[in-house]
């Protein structure tokens, strides 16, 4: 089975600084790493390959230096790396990114075999939108499985997959048909240490480099800044809340009296709470 993992090279957030005046991230001189969430996707893909056979291709869109991250992914054991790099992609938001990656995935399908599963991390640590994975799924008509904690069952012959998905209020067990796009949750596995052979192969591997044209993209207006309707108007640090701690005097008061005072103080600042409580009490 051919599996593709989409990943992103991001600045190492542990070493990042924010410009004190503009509040923008100062990327200069900050080392880059593979988006940590993507490593869970990569490990899941490698695990499936080891179990079922096949190949894992890693795909990223970024500047030429993003090749470093791809090579690292090869060291972990990925079989092939594709770098989508073109000046036309500069300034992409999530809409333009998913457009370019979807095109590259189509091309990967033609060149190296259609992937029944495409993985992404649940989100990136620099953008935190969690939009690119779903965007790709929509564009390619893949069934979308987000926040997956575990692949419970995969039957390539029948073309079905069952996953456990973490959702608000519990765990959902979802079954659907391949092909799918899975965004993998963090903490569900641990990225392996590639073997010496993997490291050796990675050091000598040729990373596939595609420009927009190579990936078969003709609509350049849908790429990069031009294809990105998102505009960052302002970046700011949130203000601290003005409300302060209130003190209730305790001298010469019984516990009952104190409790009444505290509740009264809360209701003064949060009137809806009092209404709710009264309604609740009336309902009893």
């Amino acid at each position: 089975m051919h599996i593709v993992v989409c990943m992103k090279q991001v600045p190492d957030s542990a070493q990042i600084r924010v410009h004190p005046v503009t509040n923008t991230i100062m990327r200069q001189g900050v080392p880059t790493i593979i988006n940590p969430y993507d490593l869970f996707a990569l490990e899941e893909a490698l695990h499936l390959r080891d179990r079922l056979g096949g190949e894992v291709t890693v795909l990223t869109m970024g500047p030429p230096m993003a090749e470093e991250s791809l090579r690292k992914a090869l060291t972990f054991g990925a079989d092939r790396a594709v770098l989508l790099t073109d000046r036309a992609f500069a300034g992409s938001d999530t809409l333009a990114t998913s457009f370019a990656l979807a095109a590259a995935l189509n091309k990967i399908g033609q060149e190296f075999g259609e992937p029944p599963i495409v993985f992404t991390g649940k989100q990136t640590i620099d953008g935190d939108t969690a939009q690119v994975g779903p965007g790709i799924a929509k564009r390619l008509g893949l069934n979308q499985l987000t926040y997956v904690a575990r692949i419970a069952d995969l039957d390539p012959a029948a073309g079905t997959i069952t996953v456990e998905r973490r959702a608000e209020g519990g765990l959902q067990v979802l079954q659907t048909r391949l092909p799918v796009l899975i965004t993998m949750l963090e903490g569900v596995n641990e990225i392996r240490r590639g073997s010496l052979d993997d490291a050796y192969r990675a050091a000598r591997a040729q990373v596939v480099r595609w420009s927009a044209a190579d990936a078969g993209i003709t609509e350049l207006a849908r790429c990069g800044l031009k294809g990105s309707p998102t505009i960052v108007k302002k970046v700011f640090a949130p203000q601290g809340r003005a409300e302060k701690v209130r003190q209730v005097p305790t001298a010469d008061r019984s516990a009952d009296e104190l409790a009444v005072d505290v509740i009264a103080a809360i209701f003064r600042t949060q009137p809806p709470l009092e209404d709710d409580l009264l309604r609740f009490a009336a309902g009893q």
Partner: protein, 434 residues
């Protein structure tokens, strides 16, 4: 296991390992280089001064793209007591030459650059790969290495060990003993960031000119050691180091010494307003010639710090590392051309070639110095104080006549160290220096 067999495996991607790997790869040999750090330079710490000559002999046009900070035009030697220093400064516009002789560098950047050249030359580098042991054939010849990765063996005609000061592979494989506390120094350093212009005005520099300060005296609190201050483009490296056994005896801490050094009234103004962004520590092999282990054997050669190639008196190390790496590489290429095996007898050529270079000549010249300093620790405490007191007596104008001042200075030396002591120190130093 890597199926390919290599002409050489190089352990480590520091100056010595890179020099060896580059020299061999450039001549078409098949080279595998293994580095335990995340990238070359990630584990490496040095002051750091780059001596151009050693690198020029490997990459003649390195100045075109190597990440260099400042070329050194001024050398300051300070003997310090608690409130003063007596300095000898040498500054020359001659050092503003087309191809400067010494540079300050930042190793994390420099080693990455050097490693890029090694890979361009054709060597294969694997990072985050720690060599755990040497593999031998039944006759005891080294034939390859085992690493900490799965399926982690690789084989080669010769293994070059550039694994650094505390080379565990060589120690574990019985090629050399464990480091002894009295032959190794522990140095700590900080990087203090300041705007370019501030550094240039504080140190009287223009453009990429740089200053190097080497200091000794009461800053090491009676221990054998030195301090240093180097100017980079937008930062100052400041550090101090002493022999490990001295730290153990005195109970002083390296960071405590560094804090005191930074607070010294002659140093504090140089760092004023700076932001410390990096703290590092490293061992330096300072045992010199007498502490040198065996340098080669059947199927292996040792280069750089792992072979104790450091000239502690002149604060030279990376140039010895690069030179030993280069000579080891050239020896392997030479054997390969002659279709000869890397036997112990054949690899003796490495040491023969090293004897012809400054490396062995200098180390041999100073072979008695480590022992001399070890036995004469008062050198680091008594003399700086005497010198400083003498200078103060001499320069202070206070109505005392000059002849009386001379007498006072002479008396202070006699009472500080006694006449036989003074003569003895001079003779011992002269003998060790010879």
């Amino acid at each position: 296991m890597i199926r390919d067999k290599f002409d050489a495996i190089v352990v480590g991607a520091g100056p010595s390992g890179n020099a060896a790997a580059y020299t061999m790869a450039k001549e078409g040999l098949k080279v595998l280089q293994l580095e335990r750090g995340e990238y070359p330079g990630s584990k490496n710490v040095q002051g750091a001064i780059l001596y151009a000559d050693a690198l020029e002999k490997i990459i003649p046009d390195f100045r075109e793209d190597a990440p260099l900070e400042r070329h050194v035009i001024e050398q300051r030697l300070w003997t310090m007591d608690d409130t003063s220093y007596v300095g000898m400064h040498y500054r020359s516009d001659d050092f503003n030459e087309e191809k400067p002789n010494r540079y300050t560098i930042i190793r994390a950047q420099f080693d990455r650059w050097f490693s890029g050249k090694v890979r361009e030359a054709g060597a294969v580098l694997l990072c985050e790969t720690t060599v755990t042991e040497l593999l031998r054939d039944p006759q005891g010849r080294v034939i390859g290495v085992r690493t900490d990765r799965d399926g982690g063996t690789a084989f080669a005609d010769v293994v070059i060990l550039g694994e650094g000061v505390n080379g565990l592979v060589g120690q574990r494989s019985g090629l050399r003993p464990e480091l002894k506390p009295d032959t190794v120094a522990l140095a700590v350093k900080e990087m203090h960031f300041l705007p370019r212009e501030v550094i240039e005005s504080r140190f009287n520099l223009a453009g990429n000119e740089g200053v190097v300060i080497e200091a000794m005296g009461t800053i090491t609190d009676g221990m054998t050691g030195t301090g240093f201050i180097y100017t980079n483009q937008e930062s100052i490296s400041i550090g101090i180091g002493c022999i490990v056994s001295d730290f153990a005896e005195s109970g002083r801490t390296p960071y405590g010494l560094l804090e005191a050094f930074k607070r010294h009234p002659s140093v504090r103004p140089l760092l004023e307003g700076s932001e410390c962004k990096e703290y590092a520590a490293h061992l330096i092999p300072e045992g010199g010639y007498n502490a040198m282990p065996e340098l080669f054997g059947d199927g292996w050669i040792v280069v750089g710090d792992a072979g104790q190639f450091v000239n502690a008196v002149h604060r030279e190390g990376s140039n010895l590392a690069m030179t030993t790496g280069r000579v080891a590489g050239e020896t392997v290429v030479w054997l390969k051309r002659r279709r000869e095996m890397a036997t112990k007898a054949n690899l003796a050529e490495y040491q023969r070639r090293l004897e012809e270079t400054f490396v062995m000549k200098d180390l041999r010249k100073y072979r008695r110095i480590p022992d001399f300093l070890h036995r004469n620790k008062h050198i680091f405490g008594v003399y700086p104080k005497l010198l400083s007191a003498a200078a103060q007596t001499w320069f202070r104008v206070d109505g005392v006549d000059k002849r009386a001042k001379e007498k006072q200075i002479f008396q202070s030396f006699r009472s500080g160290r006694t006449l036989p002591g003074l003569i003895g120190d001079a003779l011992k130093l002269a003998r060790s220096w010879r």
